[in-house]
Assembly symmetry: C2
Homo-oligomer: 399 residues x 2
């Protein structure tokens, strides 16, 4: 019998004992013996839960108990999740987490602490919920080199964009409905302003390049202000509008940002709809690979925590390649200098094609009527475009 501890008994944390019970047979087979939850650290009491008797309010017993090899951190927020994770690792207990905020902010320090103490810090559940994404990234692709990726890593915003497109409804309307249905938080900023997606971008960028970007090095554009008109523009360009997390190595720099992009219909990411997530990776040997699945939810996320815990308890994780994250100032190219194709909608410009030809070698007019011109400008950067067409709507096109 193996004993584990859970930090945080919220949506995800409470899913862990449920998965351990439901999948007891396969967990036992994977680990070699049964797995049981011994402690649940939470500020609250859970008198009605069958696991209520395991709830404690102090981390000390977990740190002191030699039976605990693995701690599952599902607290959310940076603090005290970071401090608790660090103390667990220093007490030579492996930590598995679904907390993308902690991994994005402190992944470098926590991985270093894990390595220094001969234990593991695993975070499969922090990106893409239940989609096995990080382990294949670390093991199967260990002998390859990820040169770029693009992903839909936030289900709430993808749900909103899908509804807007399918039903022709505006952003505020669909957001209000999503909040009423519980798909979006009462304060939706983390999702719709790209904050959540940016954390996942930071983690994937660090896995692909070794460099964990600082929060303020990554641009994240909000979905606020996106209109049905923009979705129609995407359609005019032969694609769909998606909130995309994008990383690309260009020369010696790294492009990494989150923004609404027009994804061409031929790209598999264009067909990821509703609350689904997907990430597409490119590497020289393997070409393009895409992983798709439910990016959130109690059971997918708790399932990913359990599989990380099982990898440790079975002994496999100790032999897996371990990521090392470092900080490197100046590695990330400023967002305004990242070159893309752009869809542009300009009104009032006397000759938009002429105005843009100075900043892009290929400008194609899609439509022009009533003083509004829609164009595609290839391979240019935002800073130049902003100077040439200051008031225009500009949406990047994924290539």
């Amino acid at each position: 019998m193996k004993q584990i501890a859970i930090l945080g008994f919220g949506v995800v944390g409470a899913g862990i004992p449920a998965i351990l019970e439901k999948n007891a047979e396969s967990v036992t087979r994977a680990v070699g013996e049964p797995v049981r939850v011994k402690y649940i650290l939470d500020l609250r009491e859970f008198p009605d839960s069958p696991y209520g008797d395991r709830v404690i309010h102090d981390i000390a017993p977990i740190l002191a108990d030699p039976e605990i090899e693995v701690v599952c951190e599902a607290m959310g927020g940076s603090h005290p999740a970071f401090e608790f994770s660090l103390r667990c690792l220093e007490a030579k207990k492996s930590v598995v987490t679904s907390n993308k905020e902690v991994v994005a902010n402190f992944g470098d320090r926590l991985l270093a602490a894990a390595a220094a103490n001969g234990v593991s810090y695993l975070f499969e559940a922090s990106v893409g919920g239940g989609i096995p994404l990080i382990r294949p990234f670390m093991t199967s692709l260990a002998c390859d080199r990820i040169t770029e990726f693009c992903g839909i890593v936030n289900g709430t915003t993808n749900y909103i964009l899908t509804k807007m497109r399918e039903e022709g409804r505006e952003f505020d309307d669909v957001l209000a409905e999503a909040q009423a249905l519980g798909y979006a938080e009462r304060d939706p900023s983390a999702d719709i302003d790209g904050i959540d997606a940016k954390r996942k971008l930071a983690i994937l960028t660090a896995l692909a390049t070794g460099i964990l970007p600082e929060n303020d090095e990554l641009a994240a554009l909000s979905l606020r202000g996106i209109s049905v008109r923009d979705l129609e523009a995407a359609s005019l360009c032969g694609g769909r509008l998606k909130l995309v997390a994008r990383m690309r190595r260009v020369n010696e720099k790294i492009e990494a940002y989150v923004c609404p992009m027009i994804v061409p219909d031929a790209h598999p990411l264009a067909h990821v709809e509703g609350v689904y997530n997907a990430v597409s990776f490119t590497s020289p040997a393997t070409g393009d690979i895409l992983y798709y699945g439910r990016g959130a939810g109690r059971y997918p996320t708790a399932g990913a925590l359990v599989s990380d815990a099982a990898a440790i308890l079975s002994g496999a994780a100790a032999h897996e390649a371990k990521p090392v994250f470092r900080r490197e100032a100046g590695a990330i190219l400023p967002f305004s200098e990242v070159r893309s194709d752009f869809y542009i909608r300009a009104s009032g410009l006397l000759d938009p094609e002429e105005a843009l030809s100075a900043v892009s070698e290929a400008v194609e007019v899609l439509s022009a009527k009533d003083g509004v011109c829609e164009l595609v400008a290839k391979d240019c950067c935002l800073s130049a475009l902003d100077a040439a067409a200051p008031g225009a709507v500009k949406i990047r096109i994924l290539r």
Copy 2:
């Protein structure tokens, strides 16, 4: 320095030293030391290859050399690939393979031999080329239970169907072009008759259920005889025609077959085009997950062999959950009894709706003119349909 041996220096085998050279840095990091090819077993000589001096024609030196921990089998065909693999395992050398024919026919015996000798038999490269599919299946999903999957696992047939749909050209025409371009073999039966897809179906079924089906227990329908008319019918049903490998657990039985199916547009598999492959898995905790990428080709496939070899050489594979394949007669439901929704095109039936209502509770007429009727019949089986509408075209619809 770790030394490996390669069996078969064809398209895939010759990719292995290329990948080891190109990705030397990441391979060394993953394994802990550099990896070098010591022997290449092939009947031919390769005087112009930089690896020509390592070519041997007898397996004995490989079996006898204590430096060889891993043998990469890329021979193709059942014999002598099976016998050579078995002898390597019995000599306590791990084997990694891209040879789906051997895994589908002898996977049970080779996995048992690996277990008996304390070594590994890995076959990531046998399904989905370079897409990391089997390792996530075995590790990340080890704590879950795969209840069904469906996949596009043959790039040649998917390329043909994509071209037929996009260009409105008939099967024979597109096949001839694919052969001229080298995308299809001169004898295309293994691809277009579903034989290759059936081998991958057998392997995935065994991974999901533990039961390796016998070749004659699995139905595989050919793509021969599919016409542009059938692709238009798929469109009429709101989907695209694909050659699908499908497995589903139903009660105590396993449904497993390869056949052309209409995949609804809302299913991500519908948008897998050209030579790409994808497999979608369903499990209770995780929901649906899909893996997508290049299913064949020298570098993706050789890359998968190298990553399997690296997993062994780093010591990680020894701790991974190992599949056990067993045979179980009668576990697979006969194809004619597998219930599906069907698209049906019947001519000459006096009242096709009436004729089909006896075998399906929900029949919907899509069109009826010039004595030809197109219908959808829900939840019925082929044996009953064949009796009710003997001469009609019948295509399964994926649900």
